[in-house]
Subunit: 407 residues, 2 copies
Amino acid sequence: MRAPGTPARQGTLREHNLRLVLSHILDAAAGVDPTAPSRADVATATGLTRGSVSALVDLLISARLITELPPVSSARAGRPAVPLVPARDTVAGLGAEVNVDYIGVRALDLSGRLLGQCLTSGDFRGSDPAQVLGELAALVRELRAELPGELRIAGLCLALPGLVDRVTGPLRQAPNLGWRDVDVTGLLTAHPGADDLAVRLANEANLAARAETRAGAAGDSFVYVSGEVGIGAAVVLGGEVFAGRHGWAGEIGHTVVEPEGPACTCGARGCLEQYAGKDALLRAAGRPLTDSAEDLVAAAADGDVAAATALRRGGDALGVALANFVNLVDVERVVLGGIYAPLAPWLTAPVIAQLRTRVLAAAWEDARVQVAAGGAHAAMTGAALAVLRTVVEDPAAWVPDAVGPVS
Amino acid sequence: MRAPGTPARQGTLREHNLRLVLSHILDAAAGVDPTAPSRADVATATGLTRGSVSALVDLLISARLITELPPVSSARAGRPAVPLVPARDTVAGLGAEVNVDYIGVRALDLSGRLLGQCLTSGDFRGSDPAQVLGELAALVRELRAELPGELRIAGLCLALPGLVDRVTGPLRQAPNLGWRDVDVTGLLTAHPGADDLAVRLANEANLAARAETRAGAAGDSFVYVSGEVGIGAAVVLGGEVFAGRHGWAGEIGHTVVEPEGPACTCGARGCLEQYAGKDALLRAAGRPLTDSAEDLVAAAADGDVAAATALRRGGDALGVALANFVNLVDVERVVLGGIYAPLAPWLTAPVIAQLRTRVLAAAWEDARVQVAAGGAHAAMTGAALAVLRTVVEDPAAWVPDAVGPVS
């Protein structure tokens, strides 16, 4: 799309219309009930002429961004339709993540298919950024060695549990890693395997929310809350993640539950993380911090009163914070991700009770709270999708040079 | 601007470029240091040819949307430049408001100049919508009788202290008026003086924030918080008010300060309104609810300890709620509007202290809190500006029909 404030001219038409055609074909493939459109379908949907669409489709096929399926006869008269779908195994996006208890990277192709991944568990609290990013680069190298040689890598996006400055680039602060003002890109690309990649950084909850948008079950307007040791959140409106002025929106883990509550790693008191973060829940349940969310659920299901109480109180605190969020930002659904997905059977009832009581908007009389559909490590999927989006936004960069203007 | 997902075609060029030229001339006039651009300046700024700009400018002059000032000689060689400015007294937007203790309407022309206003004080708690909107229609009639006959009225926008549904239109809920699911537009346009107007509704804080954007002192990324009996807020990002899915964003008055705090008019407990709304502040200071914000400030300045304590505690609560807002939404400034403008000398210090302690982003080490520049009844100004914006968005509708296509 043209930026506001620039005039409409013929010169931008080819790029605009290439984007339009590619987006339509990729969006159709990513739908909940995917139907591969024909050239005629694309023309109808975009308002472009069939001739223009055919020329643009040929360009996208030559760039190996889309491909044709065998023709399908329809009930209507005329030639059989040729379905158009995203190309497989030709272009990949790499999605990586550093979180408090794991690091990893996965590769997705333009159809959204997982081509491979490498993961390592660990404890990265108070870790050395240079060492951790060296380990991550080794995982990237290992993954790339497994991928087909002819695959073109569009870049890498790295999910981080903290404030990533989208204006100036570096990680500002990740309280639970103990990282502050780290040149993450520089440290990662210092290693072979990552030194030839275009790298971008983003907040893990924002990326997980992007994966959730693609998974489709939450509609296009929701708050995604990602529970780990820390708690991140992201707002999706109209299918787009709303990242705020600097990219720091959604720091729900440091919103206040009780102004005089317990001290937090961030230096303030009474933050949500101290009531509903993974460590806080395990501590309140009297369990070791090495337990998983699944261990906590199993204990509560076995009649462990301390575990059940910890989950109910955590759910109350989470509900208060989410009610504030919905009052301020106005969305239709709340999606529980990260450890809140396995904990949802215990958290959903107290969260809904708080939302019903506290959200002013009448729509929340029918509070919609649901479990994330993006699966484990959704932030890595969202990161890979973010890379693939750069392909959709500039398909002209992938089209062979020799071709003249088409509009 | 063209909507995403529609193809670029020649047919939309004239409308697009008319918008572009008109916006540029109006924005230049609204700047902090206004400089009226010439045709050549507009061509440079928009990237359009001088010939196109001249033709478009002639159309806008014939539509009486802009006008020429006397030529100005410059130091450079060549013909003197003819400055272009918004037309005065030719097109007006009406901005109206119903709030808890006043109703009114004002008229602004395209240059943003106040052409006139009619205001009435009162107590509209638990009021009858039909009666109040009849009184408002009488004020509209009175104002229109004072305006020049040749003035064209582009419409009326009404600011309301509550949830206005931008999808379906009616007011959903205004807790302090006691209004719920009211067909405000129907009740207002049932009366002569308003029955020929295109009427739209919006939240008062969103409109006051729009006026603040125009006033320019807060930049283009801020949270505007509007204190009255209730407390509204609006987020501005990139110069645009972010209204959320339904238009209900910014209900900061019903975010939680203390989960077990005092009961609120909305049915929940511990809402900010019960700590920092006008009635809550006056009650905590032991003063009658008929007192003004200025009375409260005068008492505190005279050494009234109860008044000073009420203001400090109100400022702490407001700071907690604003810290949550900034953590969730990521903006650069907080603007204190409504009664918080006169109360700012007492509120700013506790608000800044809470922001510095609680906002995760390092930028808030330099917390920026400032007093609204939009003046009294800023929501009415913002409402009139919202109407005028519809003119800028579709100038072609104001251009005489007989003119052929220009691009």
